[in-house]
């Protein structure tokens, strides 16, 4: 049985990848993912806001109340080797790439082309096999046009592509008025892969507290349909690799995505629900299904059907990031 696939020029032993999730915040987990059979690992997302604001938040908290009262001119030890911004992330990435043989893909989450583009290069220097740009932007400003939004995505992609030599994947939301056209534009702008689709932050309301509540739920198998649709549409029509993500909870979804035309299939929710060992179940399940249906290679399977839907792990990182950075500065004064 030949499960091999190629993703952004990287030959993988099979098409199942552990996608960006908080599980990858620990080196041990990354090692366990390799042991459980992951073909590659996407690191958890480093948020643009994190790079920009964490240092500001720390600076604010360290200086709050300092130099005000003669007995307590500071409240924290002065540490010269204090890592801020991407340092912690890069250290983990470096350790991960040294510790495992499978490709480790760095993940950046942002929407402007300032500041964090450098971080992509640092990820490359830290040993990342590729970069996954997890871009979502909610154009809440009522004067921003669809064209401007599209242009912003293109600029981010180009900026990152110019800063690195390793492949760059683009993880996208489906909410473009003409997604097919956008996919073509991303393809032409140099995207090495499109990852379909992320789930951007959608607030819920807490009616007891009468507050907006950043809720987050794990994906369900029914969510695979939208990605399935677009993967099926795009398969064979763009040069970029296609990764499917969302709603993978059993080998069934893996098969469906591959049959729609995905080069790789990513999963997070299943691993959060069932543990990292579930990767083995997915790979074994895929192999078993192919045996039963008498497929001899993933290549045969890929794109054999076209239909649609999905999951997104990024909200986890968003939630994690929000935990510490929430309103670090007072609202008043």
């Amino acid at each position: 049985m030949d499960l091999r696939t190629t993703y952004m020029g990287m030959e993988l032993k099979h098409p199942i990848i552990a996608s960006a999730s908080p599980l990858a915040e620990k080196l041990d987990n990354i090692k366990r993912m390799e042991d459980a059979g992951a073909a590659a690992v996407v690191m958890f997302s480093l948020f643009e806001e994190q790079i920009k604001h964490e240092s500001a938040a720390i600076e604010h908290l360290i200086t709050s109340g300092a130099e005000s009262y003669a007995e307590s001119l500071s409240y924290f030890p002065d540490c010269d080797d204090y890592d801020t911004g991407p340092d912690e992330y890069l250290n983990l990435l470096r350790q991960a790439t040294e510790a495992v043989d499978i490709p480790v893909i760095g993940s950046l989450n942002g929407i402007t082309n300032e500041g964090w583009v450098n971080t992509a290069r640092m990820m490359q220097d830290a040993g990342a096999s590729a970069i996954e740009l997890n871009t979502f932007y909610i154009p809440a400003h009522l004067y921003i046009t669809g064209r401007e939004v599209e242009q912003r995505y293109i600029e981010v992609l180009k900026a990152v592509k110019e800063s690195v030599t390793i492949p760059v994947a683009l993880k996208l939301s489906p909410f473009f008025s003409a997604f097919g056209n956008m996919a073509r534009q991303f393809d032409e702008a140099g995207a090495d892969a499109l990852v379909l689709f992320n789930r951007f932050y959608q607030p819920d309301f807490d009616l007891d507290r009468m507050e907006v509540a950043p809720d987050l739920e794990l994906s369900t198998p029914s969510e695979i349909r939208l990605p399935l649709l677009w993967i099926a549409v795009l398969h064979g029509r763009i040069n970029a690799s296609i990764a499917a993500t969302r709603g993978v909870h059993s080998p069934v979804e893996v098969v469906k995505y591959l049959m729609a035309g995905a080069d790789v299939v990513m999963t997070t929710s299943a691993l959060l629900r069932h543990g990292i060992g579930f990767l083995t179940t997915l790979v074994d399940g895929l192999e078993k299904w192919m045996e039963e249906k008498q497929y001899s290679s993933v290549g045969q399977l890929r794109g054999a059907m076209s239909q649609a839907n999905c999951l997104d792990p990024s909200a986890f990182e968003r939630a994690n990031y929000i935990k510490i950075l929430e309103n670090y500065a007072p609202d008043y004064g």
């Binding site: 240092s55 005000s68 003669a70 030890p77 540490c79 080797d81 340092d87 912690e88």
Partner: protein
């Protein structure tokens, strides 16, 4: 001479630099102003920096200075090179060990940032009372007078101790030297090595205890040999001055910097000489230079080696021409014939004279004087006054200088206009807020300029007595020569006012030199600003020909992404206007400094600061000065005319920064001050204040309960009273049955508000139409200020509800109790003060508080104003602070008095029963006194009793009258932080709890030494970073609750108001009602946790939800009824420890410095939480059955759910 690194550092760092490099063990305990030395040593150890032998010294934080001295003694006795850093009360606690260390001829240096001692009041500031108090211990004493000297003498002391075998105190003036930043030529490690011969180090080690060569030291001695033993050391003391002199000579050869045991400066044939030590010597020297230029034959003898006092060296250093000598002591020895240095000088001269060995032949006239206590300014004008006094026919002895003593008439007059600031020195004054970064920016400026070889730089910073909205004044000097002016800037040629509203109350131009530059952060542009200036400011600008420049720094900062941090903006203005450095070069240096300072903190911070620099220059405008004064604005009076006399005459002066002008007669003789003066202060420090929305409010009382500053008050009253209310007075019908025509008002004292926002956070009521709007919302103050002032005046005319009508058992009820602790100067959003305020509400009119030194004694008792207050009947908490370490014992003393005098009163009552009436006496003796109505009834009986007693003309009656107040049950509380309860006062607390007497203990547990800046205590949790736990604390905090429970008869509660205010309330009431010892451990969020204080209560909730801080009560009285006294008031943990900890920088820091270790500690912390939870759960298991009927539900009343 080697290439020498020049740097700008303060005296603490200059000293610690040497101490760290020359020692192996450092045992310390934080105390202002010496804490920085220990913190730096710990930081360097964490960074892996080594001493001159390539080893990283061991740094051990102890539980007290007594502990630090004990550990030092032990380390020394086993042969380690050992040091410690301390001051003031800390040095007092070291005295017993110091006698031992000296008696055993042990080489060691204790570095002391000399500070006042607590007498009629505590003072953190500098003088020599502490070091003078230990002059009899046998330690040698070496004094430094400047930052460079502190650096150099630290080494000379270390070198000397190893050779002499005498332990040394190396001291320098607290704050004036410890905190002054100045340019220092750093010693190289080679120079340090050259001063410390290895053979002496090895000899020191060999004197240590060693079972391979056993001996014993520390025997008990009897009359036969003790005396002789004390005399054995004499040769060592006799040899020491010459050895120190040799070390100074060697030091000079190595470094080019010359010192002598007594350094003389001035006219070689001076007739008038001042003898002095410490930082004031530089001021005297500067004045001598000035006076000499005018032809005066004056001089100064600066004492470096004070003990052993070498008569030979002294006499050799004093000019033979000296006829009049003033010896100035920075200490006070009440009742002595003179202060110590004066007596030493006098004895030396008298002895020499008697022996015919006086070099001049004739005994000079010697007078002694006191100066500079508690960092009182000591200026050239004062120096001149002393020289002038020496010139008089009969110079006074025992004089004071720097104050106006109109009681004992000791003080010398001086001319404040005698100012000798050199023209070639740029003198700058900056008025800022603690929160606006002014001090940080100025420290940065000093570094930038001070590291330019062409300049010397000096910086000194004066801070406020408050922790919120505090004003800072930075005093900077820059010049081509070393700067020796060890006093505040007296004549500034640059003045920066970083807050426009300071102009309302402060004449910031008082010290402006003619032609000075005035930089003003102004929201008003250059065209309109003139008309907004007070008259005195306009007048000064015109009279002294000042130039005025304005910038809207807050706008520039916001536009640059810096939020409210205006530090970089104002720093750039200074460089652009002052001309100290060429503008472009200065800007480049600022940017380099920004990169250096913030580079590790991320590109984004650097980018924003760069933007701020660039935007500043485009927004800095000169103001055209009109020819005449047009303003009619006068500076606001510090207090209103209605304030009491003491507040108007004394407190107001202190509030205005004019306390130096108060004569001795105006200051209370014994440290007794009136309570309730904070209400006159009206600091107006927040631009945003809570505004009440009556139509949304559910009158729950949460906001009032949690307000850390007692700014939110509630009253209910008859509707008819509204007839005279101002038009804008807010009111609504009370939300309670059975009270028709009764209205409710929640009044915000917005001029006292710090803007913390805790009230908004806990408000559970929201508008159904606009969910973002609560019943209380932060809004800009200015639009509502005038109307609310009228409302407050009216609200004050409404009576507080009678206590007997208040439901003490609910938060809703407690809001109607008058807080007798109001408007403290604590941090905005303080997590401690809500508990303190609650204490005052529940028991305030019969409360007596023993307060351990720390945050609570500072916001509770730091002058000028006092937050503990009194009610309309004149009753209120009586408060005192003894020390840090003895608070439990101090409070027990209150109990002992109360018990004794109550027993006396009861005995006398019985004896006087025939005269007083059996009924009244029995009613008083048998009265229950738990509820407020019972207490009220007892007060009425007491009033009747006292009335009757006043009619009886007998000794018995007079005695009973004098102790009869005790017949109303007193509520005795000892209050303090975790530094006291877990560390320095733990043995006393333990003992007091063990005695079974009715003492209530409230521990405001911030889990760190908050007041001294965040040092680890035994309450610091596992995995948290703190000073002295830079690498994360590796052991869990002590479980003080379980420790106290082990006695079985101690009421114990663990509370967190943010998680369950109802449980907090119940615990306070149970503890107070319990007739034995009670201990309440109160989770107090703190600025030292690295949190947004606005969410402090939510964080308390998380602490409880994670199981880290299980709420519980242990009530021994319950056991009497056969039930489990242990009640666990928390539910099962619902979030992980990490989910709680991730919100706090103290935990997050380690994940940024050492992620792997952070993960390990976080896991250990979770395990510990699990273990503790299981323990508590088991202890409370039986209680859970009972809990169903309890009125405290787990986590009930949570303000955020």
């Amino acid at each position: 001479m080697p290439d020498r690194q020049i740097t700008t550092i303060d005296g603490n760092e200059a000293t610690a630099y040497v101490a760290y490099r020359t020692n192996e063990v450092c045992s310390i305990y934080p105390i202002t102003p010496s804490s920085t030395m220990g913190e730096l040593a710990d930081q360097w150890a964490q960074e892996g920096k080594t001493n001159i032998w390539g080893d990283i010294p061991v740094i051990a934080e102890m539980q007290s200075e007594g502990g630090a001295a004990g550990a030092a003694h032990g380390a020394l006795q086993t042969g380690a090179l050992t040091t410690t850093f301390t001051a003031s009360q800390g040095l007092m606690l070291m005295i017993p060990n110091m006698y031992k260390i000296a008696g055993e001829l042990t080489a060691a240096v204790f570095h002391v940032a000399a500070r006042s001692l607590a007498a009629q009041g505590l003072s953190i500031f500098g003088d020599h009372q502490d070091v003078m108090a230990v002059r009899s211990t046998g330690f040698a004493q070496l004094a430094s007078g400047s930052v460079q000297e502190a650096h150099d003498m630290a080494l000379i002391a270390q070198a000397s101790t190893l050779e002499t075998r005498l332990p040394f105190i190396h001291f320098f003036d607290g704050f004036r030297t410890s905190h002054e930043i100045n340019r220092v030529a750093l010693l190289t490690d080679d120079e340090i090595r050259a001063m410390i011969p290895d053979e002496q180090v090895i000899a020191h080690r060999r004197r240590g205890l060693n079972p391979d060569h056993p001996f014993m030291r520390g025997t008990a001695q009897n009359p036969d040999v003790y005396f002789q033993g004390r005399e054995t050391v004499n040769p060592y003391y006799a040899a020491t001055p010459d050895i120190v002199e040799d070390k100074m000579r060697l030091f000079a050869e190595l470094t080019g910097r010359h010192y002598r045991l007594f350094d003389y400066f001035g006219d070689p044939e001076a007739e008038r000489v001042i003898i002095i030590m410490g930082s004031a010597a530089d001021t005297v020297r500067e004045t001598v230079e000035f006076l000499q230029a005018g032809g005066a034959a004056v001089g100064i003898l600066q004492v470096h080696l004070y003990r052993p006092f070498s008569a030979r060296h002294f006499l050799a250093s004093l000019p033979v021409s000296a006829r009049r000598i003033a010896v100035l002591d920075r200490t006070k020895e009440a009742g002595a014939p003179g202060e110590p240095l004066y007596l030493d000088v006098l004895a030396t001269l008298a002895t020499a004279s008697a022996n015919g060995e006086l070099p001049g032949g004739r005994m000079p006239r010697v007078v002694g004087g006191r100066y500079g206590l508690s960092s009182k300014e000591f200026t050239p004008a004062m120096v001149k006054a002393v020289y002038d006094e020496l010139d008089s026919d009969t110079p006074r002895n025992g004089f004071t200088i720097g104050i106006h003593d109109d009681v004992s008439h000791t003080s010398l007059a001086f001319d404040p206009g005698f100012i000798i600031e050199p023209d070639k020195v740029v003198r700058a004054l900056f008025y800022g807020l603690g929160a606006d970064g002014t001090v940080g920016a100025n420290k940065n400026t000093i570094k930038i300029i001070g590291e330019d070889p062409a300049f010397h730089a000096q910086g000194y910073f004066v801070y406020d007595s408050k922790k919120s909205g505090s004003q800072t004044v930075s005093h900077l000097r820059f010049g081509p020569q070393p700067i020796r002016s060890s006093y505040l800037v007296q004549s500034a040629n640059f003045i920066g006012c970083h807050q426009f509203n300071f102009l309302e109350r402060t004449n910031v131009l008082e010290k402006a030199a003619p032609g000075a530059t005035f930089l003003l952060n102004s929201p008003v542009g250059p065209e309109a600003v003139w008309d907004q200036l007070p008259r005195i400011i306009q007048q000064t600008i015109i009279d002294r020909n000042l130039s005025l420049h304005v910038i809207d720094a807050y706008k520039v900062a916001r536009d640059s992404g810096m939020g409210n941090r205006i530090n970089t903006v104002m720093q750039t203005c200074f460089f652009a206007l002052s001309g100290v450095l060429p503008k472009d070069a200065a800007i480049a240096k600022i940017k380099t400094a920004i990169e250096k300072t913030y580079g590790k903190k991320g590109d984004e911070v650097v980018r924003k600061n760069f933007a701020a620099v660039d935007n500043t220059l485009a927004n800095l405008y000169p103001v055209e000065i009109p020819g005449r004064v047009s303003s009619e604005l006068e500076l606001l009076a510090p207090v209103p005319p209605a304030a009491p006399d003491f507040v108007r005459d004394v407190t107001a002066k202190m509030m205005s920064g004019l306390g130096d002008e108060l004569p001795v007669s105006m200051v209370p003789v014994d440290g007794t001050y009136p309570t309730g003066t904070s209400r006159w202060e009206k600091r107006n420090i927040s631009m945003y204040v809570p505004v009440w929305e009556p139509e949304i409010c559910i009158q729950c009382g949460n906001c009032s309960l949690v307000c850390p500053h007692s700014v939110i008050r509630a009253k209910f009253y008859d509707e008819a009273q509204l007839e005279s209310a101002p038009a804008g007075f807010k009111s609504s019908a009370i939300n309670a049955r059975g009270l028709p025509d009764v209205h409710y008002t929640l009044q915000v004292y917005l001029e006292d508000c710090t803007g913390c926002g805790l009230c908004v956070g806990v408000c559970p009521a929201r508008s159904s139409k606009e969910p973002g709007r609560k019943a209380i919302n932060m809004q800009p103050k200015e639009p509502v200020l005038d109307g609310e002032r009228d409302n407050i005046d009216f609200f004050d005319t409404l009576d507080y509800v009678e206590r007997s009508r208040v439901d003490f058992s609910t938060v809703r009820g407690v809001q109607f109790l008058e807080p007798l602790f109001e408007f403290p100067g604590s941090c905005a959003g303080c997590g401690e003060t809500p508990y303190v305020k609650l204490l005052s509400q529940l028991f305030g009119d019969r409360l007596i508080v023993a307060n351990a030194t720390g945050c609570s004694s500072i916001y509770g008792g730091n002058l000028p104003t006092t937050p503990w207050s009194r009610n309309a009947q004149g009753r209120g908490p009586a408060w005192s602070n003894s020390l840090f370490e003895d608070n439990a014992e101090f409070g027990l003393g209150f109990r002992l008095t109360t018990d004794k005098q109550l027993a006396m009163a009861e005995r006398l009552l019985k004896e006087l029963m025939p005269q007083l009436g059996e009924g009244l006496v029995e009613q008083i003796l048998l009265a229950p006194q738990i509820t407020d109505s019972e207490l009220q009834a007892q007060r009425e009986r007491l009033a009747e009793l006292q009335h009757k007693l006043q009619q009886l003309d007998t000794d018995q009656a007079r005695h009973l009258l004098s102790v009869s107040d005790h017949l109303v049950r007193r509520s005795i509380w000892t209050v303090g932080g975790d530094g006291w309860a877990y560390d320095i006062g733990s043995s006393g607390l333990d003992h007091v709890l063990s005695l079974g007497r009715d003492v209530n203990v409230l521990v405001l547990d911030t889990e760190v030494y908050s007041n001294t800046g965040g040092q680890m205590s035994k309450a610091t949790p596992l995995a948290a970073v703190a000073k002295f736990a830079t690498g994360g604390k590796r052991v869990p905090k002590k479980d003080l609750a379980l420790q106290a429970i082990s006695y079985g008869n101690v009421y114990v509660a663990r509370v967190a108001m943010g998680a369950n205010p109802q449980q907090t309330l119940q615990a306070f009431r149970e503890a107070e009602a319990y007739p034995g010892p009670s201990l309440i451990l109160a989770y107090s969020h703190c600025i030292a946790h690295g949190i947004n204080m606005q969410h402090g209560l939510l964080q308390q909730q998380r602490a409880v939800m994670s199981g880290y801080w299980p709420l519980m009560r242990y009530n021994p009285e319950v056991r009497a009824s056969g039930e489990n006294p242990f009640v666990l008031d928390s539910r099962q943990p619902r979030i992980s420890f990490r989910e709680y900890a991730d919100h706090e920088l103290r935990y997050r820091m380690l994940s940024r410095t050492n992620p792997a270790e952070a993960d390990v500690l976080m896991e250990l912390a979770q395990q510990h939480v699990n273990q503790t939870w299981r323990l508590y759960e088991r202890a409370g298991y039986q209680g859970s059955e009972r809990r169903g009927s309890s009125d405290v539900h787990p986590d009930a009343g949570s303000p955020t759910t």
